[in-house]
Symmetry: C2
Subunit: 342 residues, 2 copies
C-alpha cells in the first residue's frame, strides 16, 4: 500500500506547521496569501486528497446523508434519489444509499449502517413489512435528523414528504365514475402502509360521493409483490359480476393488470378501464397508455433533502415534524378514455 499524502507531508516540504496547512486548505482567513498559494500548489502537485475519514472523525460529522429505500426495481425510487442527491451535493453533502429489499430486517440493518457511518441525517421510505419503528426512533434519540418520504408512518414525530394520496385516489376514482363506470375495483397496497390506507380512503369516498355501492368483493389489499399482482387481478376479473374499472395502488401493478386484460382480449376502456398511480416509465409506452395520477417524483427527493438539511443546521429542539404534501395530477390516457392523447 502506497503512502497516502497527508497535510504533514505538505507541512514538512514547505517547512511550516500542519496547522497552517490545514488552515490554508480549509480557507481559514488568517493565512498569508503567499503561504496559501504555496500550500495549494504543492497539494496539487502531490495529488493530495483530503481524508474525509479523518476530517469527519475530528469534526464528528460526516457531511453525508443516508437514504434508505425499500426497492430499486421500479423507476420511482431511483428518481427520488436523483432529486435528493442534487440538493445534497449543492450543499456539499454526499449520499449513502441503502435499499432494504422490502424486508424489515434489511431496513434495520441499513439503519445500523447509517448510524455506524455517522451520517448527518437520514431519508427513509419504509418497506411494506415495517411495523416496528424502534430503529427509526433511535435516530431521533441520537439527535440525527430523519425525514420520511413516500412510505411514511405517523408513529414517530418527524418531518414527512408525501403527495396528496387521498386526493389523488379520489380524483382517479371520480374520473372513472365520470366516464360512466359503475363497478370500480381497487387493487390496494398493504394496509400497514399509510399511503395505501389513504389511497383506499380516497377511493371509497369518491364512490360514496356518487352514491355507488362499496362492494367489499371489489377491494383487495396485497403486499406489492408484483409477482402476485396478476393473480389478484385474475381474482377480480373472475367474479360473477366482474368490475368495469380498476384503480391500482401504483403503476407497476396497473401495468400488470393491463397486460392480463389485454391477454384476455377484453376491450379497454369499454369493458374495463384501468388507472394507476405515479406515472412511472412504461406507463406511456404501453398501449393503450395508462391513465394515472402523476406525482412529482424528483421533487419528492428534492424537498425531502431540503427538509433534512434544514434540520442538520439547527438544534434538535427546534425541529418541527412538518408534513409537506406535494400535488399530484390526473393524467388521462387511453386506458380510461378511448383515444385520449398520451
Amino acid at each position: 500500500m502506497k503512502h497516502q499524502v497527508t497535510i504533514i507531508d505538505i507541512a514538512r516540504q514547505l517547512n511550516i506547521s500542519k496547522s497552517t496547512v490545514s488552515r490554508a486548505l480549509t480557507g481559514h482567513p488568517r493565512v498569508k496569501e503567499a503561504t496559501r498559494r504555496a500550500v495549494l500548489d504543492l497539494a496539487g502537485q502531490l495529488d493530495y486528497q483530503r481524508n474525509m475519514l479523518a476530517i469527519n472523525l475530528s469534526s464528528s460529522r460526516s457531511k453525508t446523508i443516508g437514504i434508505i429505500v425499500p426497492e430499486f426495481v421500479t423507476s420511482f425510487f431511483p428518481i427520488v434519489i436523483m432529486g435528493a442527491q442534487e440538493v445534497a451535493s449543492e450543499s456539499g453533502y454526499t449520499v449513502l444509499i441503502c435499499q432494504s429489499n422490502e424486508t424489515y430486517e434489511a431496513e434495520v440493518a441499513n439503519a445500523k449502517v447509517m448510524l455506524a457511518n455517522r451520517v448527518d441525517g437520514v431519508l427513509v421510505s419504509l418497506t411494506r413489512e415495517t411495523k416496528n419503528f424502534e430503529h427509526l426512533a433511535m435516530f431521533t434519540r441520537k439527535a440525527i435528523p430523519l425525514v420520511l418520504f413516500n412510505r411514511v408512518c405517523y408513529d414517530i414525530e418527524v418531518p414527512k414528504v408525501v403527495v396528496n394520496d387521498y386526493e389523488g385516489a379520489f380524483n382517479a376514482t371520480e374520473h372513472l365514475i365520470l366516464t360512466g363506470k359503475k363497478r370500480i375495483a381497487h387493487l390496494a397496497g398493504p394496509q400497514s402502509l399509510y399511503i395505501s390506507r389513504k389511497r383506499l380512503e380516497g377511493y371509497k369516498d369518491a364512490l360514496r360521493k356518487y352514491n355507488l355501492p362499496a362492494d367489499d368483493e371489489l377491494v383487495i389489499s396485497y403486499d406489492l409483490d408484483l409477482g402476485k399482482a396478476r393473480m389478484y387481478v385474475k381474482h377480480l376479473l373472475d367474479q360473477p359480476q366482474p368490475p368495469d374499472a380498476l384503480f391500482a395502488v401504483n403503476d407497476p401493478t396497473a401495468l400488470e393488470a393491463l397486460l392480463l386484460i389485454k391477454e384476455r382480449g377484453l376491450s379497454i376502456p369499454d369493458q374495463i378501464a384501468v388507472v394507476g398511480f405515479s406515472n412511472d416509465y412504461g406507463s406511456s409506452l404501453i398501449e393503450p397508455g395508462l391513465t394515472t395520477i402523476a406525482q412529482p417524483t424528483r421533487e419528492i427527493g428534492r424537498v425531502a433533502a431540503q427538509l433534512l438539511l434544514e434540520q442538520t443546521n439547527t438544534d434538535a429542539s427546534t425541529w418541527k415534524p412538518v408534513t409537506r404534501v406535494l400535488k399530484t395530477e390526473l393524467l388521462i390516457r387511453g386506458s380510461s378514455v378511448q383515444g385520449a392523447s398520451k
Copy 2:
C-alpha cells in the same frame, strides 16, 4: 449534541481497558468468554454503535466500495447497482453511489469524492463525454482497485466487465437480414464509447457477411441524449430510400424510434423492423414488443463487484486487467417478427 457512547464508556463501567472492549467487540479470540458477554451486554444496553469513521481512519480502509454511473434514468444502472450491492454486502462492504449525469466534470468530481472517502475500490461506467482518463488513472496510482463495466475504455489497464457487444450487434443485424430486410439502418452511440464502436462493428460485419451494401447514409452516431433520438430517427426515415429496418444502440433509443414509427403509421415489422439492445423495462410493454439483445444486467453488477473485491484483498502488483465478457441473448418480439411471443 448528545454524547456518543464509545468503547471508553464501556471500559470504564466494566473497569477494564478499552483494548479489551475493542477485542470483545471485534471478535478477537483472546478474550475471556465472561468478559465478552459483559461487554456485549453493556454495549446493547447503552445503544452502542461502533463508529466506522474512527475504525476506518484507524485501519486506513473504509470497507466501502464506490460506484460511479453516468445516469439513473434508464433502469439499467439501478439494476447493475443492485447486483453489485448484493455481492458487496455479502462481504461486509457498504456502497457509495454517485451518478455523473453524463458529464465529464461530474465524473471527475465524483472520483474525488471517492478518493476523499477512502473507498477500498471503485466501479465505474463512463459518461458519454469522457475522453480523458487521468481521474481514473489516479486510482491505480494510489493503489485503489478499479473495475470498469459496461461503458469501458481501453486506455487504462484495469479489469473490465462487458457483454459481447460485437456478437450481440452482429446477431441483431443478422436476425434482421434473415427476416428479409435489405436496408438496415443503425442508430449508433457516440464513437468515443468503446461499446458503441463494437456494436457498430458487429452491425457492419453482419452486413458484409451477407453481402449487403454498407450505406453510410444509414448509420448515425449520436450522443445518447434521448431527447434528440427522435430527430435522428426522423432523419433516417425521411431519406429518399428509407430503411426497412433499424438497429438501435440501446433500448431507450429503440423505444423512441418505435413510438415515432407508430405515429407515422408505418407497419411494423413489415415496412420497418426495429431491434434494440439491453432488454430494459418497457421493451416488453410496448406494442409490438421490442426485439432486443438481452444482457444479464444484474449479473454485470455482481461480477464487477466480485472482480473488485478480489483485488481489494490482494497486493496491487498481482492485479490482472482481465476482461470478463458476459453473454447476451437475442430476444425476438413483435418489432421484428410479426406475432412473435413476448
